[in-house]
Each structure stands twice: as C-alpha cells, then as structure tokens.
C-alpha cells in the first residue's frame, strides 16, 4: 500500500474548514467574557458580569430548570420505553416488527417543524395545550429513535447464550434481564441516553409550538431574545449551554468512546 501524506495545500484547506466549523462557538465564548457591549478583536478587557446577569435573572433560571427537568424526564421515559420495545423487536416477539421499527424511526425523517405544528393543532383540539406532560411526551417521540437505534445495535452484539444460562440456573425472565442482559447493554444505553438528553435539551422546532407564554426552555428563550438584538447576556446564556454540552461529553467518555458517533 502506498500511504500518501496530505499535501500542504490540503492541510491548509482542512485547517481553514475546521476553523469555519468552530468559529461561531469560539466567538460566543469570547463574547460572553468580553467587557464591551460589542465584541472587538482583541477584546478590550474581560468580565464575568454577563454571567452574573444571567444567573440572577429569574426568567433565565426558570428556563434552565425547565430545560433540565424536561430533558431528564424525556430521556428517562425514552430509555425505559425504548429498551422494552427494542427487546421485543430484537427477539421477534411480535409480527410486523419491521413496520413498527419504521414507525419508531419516522419522527427522525419528518421535518421537525411539521411535527411541531401537527402536535400544536392536535393538542389544541384536545384542549391539552400547556400541560408539561405533553412536552415530555413530544420529547420522548423525538428522542426514541436514538435510544432504540443504540439499544438494538447493543442487543445484536450480545451473546444470547448468556441470558439462556441465567434462565437454566433458575432466574425468571425479568431477573435474567435485570442481572445479566441489562448490565451488558449499559454502554449502548448510556450512548443512546446521552444523545437523547442532548437532543431534548437542544430542541426548538417542536418545543416552540407547545409552550404557553408563561413557559420557556433555554434554547427557546435565547431564540426569542435574539429578535430584540444581539447582547452579551445572550452570549453568556449560550456559553452555559456550550459548557453543559462539553461536561456531558466528558462524563460520557467514561463509558463510551467517540467512535460510536460515526
């Protein structure tokens, strides 16, 4: 095999493209620590005032709390329902498994804004608009594909004889699943759970249609604030989201390698 090293032109282009991909995040981070209202390069002084402003603002605190509770509830429910469904689908316990799987994956290929408006119409007709449980269920719907996909791929990699051995030794179906299968599925479920949590935390196009004027999540609040212009406290709130994502990723690395992502 003739391995070819990247030429300097290719290296330079790749560096420029990587910079382009990371520029907006970098700029947000710098802007949130910058002392001036408008960002200049190099920044004229540094401050933590914008973070203090965000963290002392009731609106932001409520939005952050709502986002975290919503993502936790949706991910928890998605993991329970998704694992149960994946188990049944993997073991071909029902007819029409392929059709059911396509249905589970459907919210991934439907334009998110269409799911959002369809749910808005439906929930309004039923008179259920504004209930927190509706938001949780909508988020389960959009996170389920990630959980089911990773649960199914973990189940495929599992040796079926391990669970059978537990059954032979006298464990009932659920005990065998809980003590033998579940621990083996853990890395896959953690990966699915993380993807699900980040997806729920980030979602705007479905969430925005289901909120009442009194409710908001962090990304929806940032999205709405921008209509009044760019200001450094929005950058600080955004930096908090970037930090949150980074922390989730670092914690995740303890269980999952990055190779899972592609």
């Amino acid at each position: 095999m003739m391995a070819r090293n990247p030429s300097w032109l290719l290296t330079l282009s790749a560096m420029a493209i990587l910079l382009f991909m990371n520029a907006p995040t970098l700029v947000v981070l710098i802007a949130s620590f910058s002392a001036t209202e408008y960002l200049t390069i190099p920044p004229q002084g540094w401050t933590l005032d914008w973070f203090a402003e965000v963290l002392s603002d009731d609106g932001y605190i409520r939005a952050i709390t709502t986002s975290l509770i919503l993502a936790s509830c949706a991910t928890g429910l998605s993991l329970i329902l998704g694992t149960a469904a994946s188990y049944a689908l993997h073991h071909r316990m029902v007819r029409g498994g392929d059709a059911i799987l396509s249905l589970v994956m459907a919210p991934l290929v439907f334009p998110a804004v269409v799911i959002g408006v369809a749910l808005l119409q439906y929930v309004s007709l039923l008179g259920l608009r504004g209930h927190f449980i509706i938001l949780v269920l909508a988020h389960v719907l959009i996170t389920l594909p990630y959980v089911v996909r990773s649960a199914l791929s973990s189940l495929t990699g599992l040796n079926p004889q391990v669970e059978e051995a537990a059954r032979v030794l006298g464990a009932d179906g659920f005990t065998a699943f809980r003590l033998v299968t579940l621990p083996l599925l853990k890395p896959g479920l953690v990966a699915g759970g993380i993807f699900s949590f980040v997806t729920s935390l980030d979602n705007v196009p479905v969430t925005i249609f289901l909120l009442t004027p009194r409710q908001t999540t962090l990304p929806v609040k940032i999205f709405a604030s921008v209509e009044h212009g760019v200001d450094p406290s929005i950058a600080a709130a955004s930096s908090l989201m970037i930090a949150g994502t980074a922390i989730v990723l670092i914690l995740a690395q303890r269980w999952v390698s990055f190779s899972r992502f592609f």
Partner: protein
C-alpha cells in the same frame, strides 16, 4: 418466528405513544389542510383543495418554495465542496491528528443550533466582527450586508450541516481500496484525473447519502433561517411558523407543511432506492 404475548406488553407503551402522539396528529393535520379557512374559528366545515391550490398557485408562496429549494441546493453543494477536502485530509492524517480533527468536527455538531446561529449573528451583523474588522482595515467604507438575506442563511446552514457530510464522506473514502488509486498513479494519471475518475465515482454512495441528508435538513430548517434571515427573508419552515403563530391561518400552514413533508419524504425514499442500487441491497 413466533408471537409471544409478552412481546405485545413490551411494545404497547411505545405503540400507543406513536399512534396517539404521531400518527393521529399527522392524520388530523392532513384532514384539516383540506378544510376551508374561516377567520372566526380557524377552519370551516366544508372539504376543499383550496389551500393547496392557494399555496402552489400564489406567486408569493411559489417564491418561497423556489427559494427554499435553491437554498437546499446551494447548501448541499457548499457542504460537498468543503466536506471533501476535510474528509480526505482526516483519512490521510496521522492517527493523533485524526482524533483531534474528528473531535473538532463532532463538537460543533453537538452544540446547540440556536447557539451556533447566534455566533454567526455576532460575526455577520452590520456592526459584527467581520464588518468591524474589514472597516478597521480600510477595505470597505460601509458595512457589507451579510445577514438578514440569502448570504447569511447559506453561511449558517453550511456550517451547521457540514459535520454530517464529513462524517458520511470519511467511511465512504475509507471503503475505497488504496491500491486502486495507487494503480492509477503508477499509470501516470494526474491528481485531478484520479480524483474525478476514481475517487469520486467510488465514493458515490456516501456522496448521495450525505447530499440528500444535508438537502432535506436544509429545506426543513427553522431556527437558522429565522435568526440569520430575520423576520422578512422567509423560507418554507419560517413561513409555516408564521402561518401558525402570527397569521393564524392554520389550513394554509398545514397545506404548506404537507408540501414540505412530501418533498422531504420523496427525496429520502429515492435516496434509499439509489443507495440500495449502489450497495447492492445493503440498506443505507
């Protein structure tokens, strides 16, 4: 294969959620898109195709549909042009550099889209970083209009969907046996010729999957076109948002939503067929 009662027990909650929370809302929206619009109750009692005729026949809506499709094409082309060099570089780089480069591709992917679009606003605004820098350098006298128009939306969407393209192109390139390219070089082929006649055709399944994904995501995007296009430069998703939230013309909004869905689903279906043809039955 034998049906077991426990299987239904495990699947019932998920099926109930999908039927009551996804199939029913979509079906009801399909029905309501066939009702006439009434200013008082939102929608009337009679069945009609008027909403679809209105959406497909009105010059304003046609402009928005055409603009959305053009936007999708430009963003897809831009992602291919930028994605290819990066994917080739990552494939050829040393393992240590490879890991860092892949992390730099994945990190923006996981960062919130609102946050990334906001970053572009800071960069592209009339008094944003790019304009200030260009004016300070004396290259321009008045700020360039980089935002609240097509330029801004293209820049934002390209950055947002580029990671998907790169992550799909890398495995496509890895599947090409290195001997094939080596053989072409031995036979004195030039680099551009090897790229056009060997690398590109062999990477076709990856190129098709990546392009369709980026195109469908671009025409469905709501957040970035809204933030970088502003309230006046509209695409299909932002128009649907306004029909539902501002104009309260739900039947027209529903009809437009279905036009978008049909375009997206047809493309995904077609792409799966083409990819299946190329990979001989291996579903992409």
């Amino acid at each position: 294969m034998r049906a077991r009662p426990a299987g239904y027990g495990l699947l019932t909650p998920v099926l109930a959620l999908l039927i009551a929370g996804f199939l029913a809302p979509t079906a009801i929206m399909a029905l309501l898109s066939l009702r006439s619009y009434s200013g008082m109750q939102g929608f009337g009692d009679d069945w009609t195709l008027a909403n679809y005729i209105f959406v497909i026949g009105d010059p304003y809506y046609l402009l928005i549909i055409g603009r959305t499709l053009m936007l999708g094409l430009i963003v897809t082309a831009a992602c291919l042009v930028l994605g290819f060099p990066l994917a080739i570089y990552i494939q050829r780089a040393r393992p240590a550099v490879q890991t860092i480069a892949i992390l730099l591709v994945i990190f923006p992917l996981l960062c919130n889209i609102v946050v990334r679009s906001f970053g572009w606003m800071v960069l592209l605004a009339p008094r944003g970083l790019i304009n200030e820098a260009l004016m300070a350098a004396g290259l321009i006298a008045t700020p360039l209009e980089l935002m609240y128009n097509l330029t801004g939306v293209i820049i934002g969407l390209t950055q947002i969907f580029l990671p998907f393209m790169v992550l799909l192109l890398i495995p496509a390139l890895q599947n090409i046996p290195p001997d094939v390219e080596a053989a072409a070089y031995t036979l004195k082929s030039s680099r551009p010729r090897v790229f056009l006649t060997i690398t590109m055709p062999l990477a076709t399944p990856g190129i098709i999957t990546g392009s369709i994904l980026v195109f469908v995501l671009s025409i469905s995007a709501l957040v970035t076109p809204r933030m970088l296009g502003g309230p006046t430069y509209k695409v299909m998703a932002t128009q649907i948002y306004d029909e539902f939230m501002t104009n309260l013309d739900w039947p027209a909004g529903a009809a437009l939503a279905f036009v978008l869905t049909v375009i997206a689903l047809t493309l995904i279906w077609g792409a799966n067929r083409i990819a299946a043809h190329f990979t001989k039955g291996f579903a992409a």
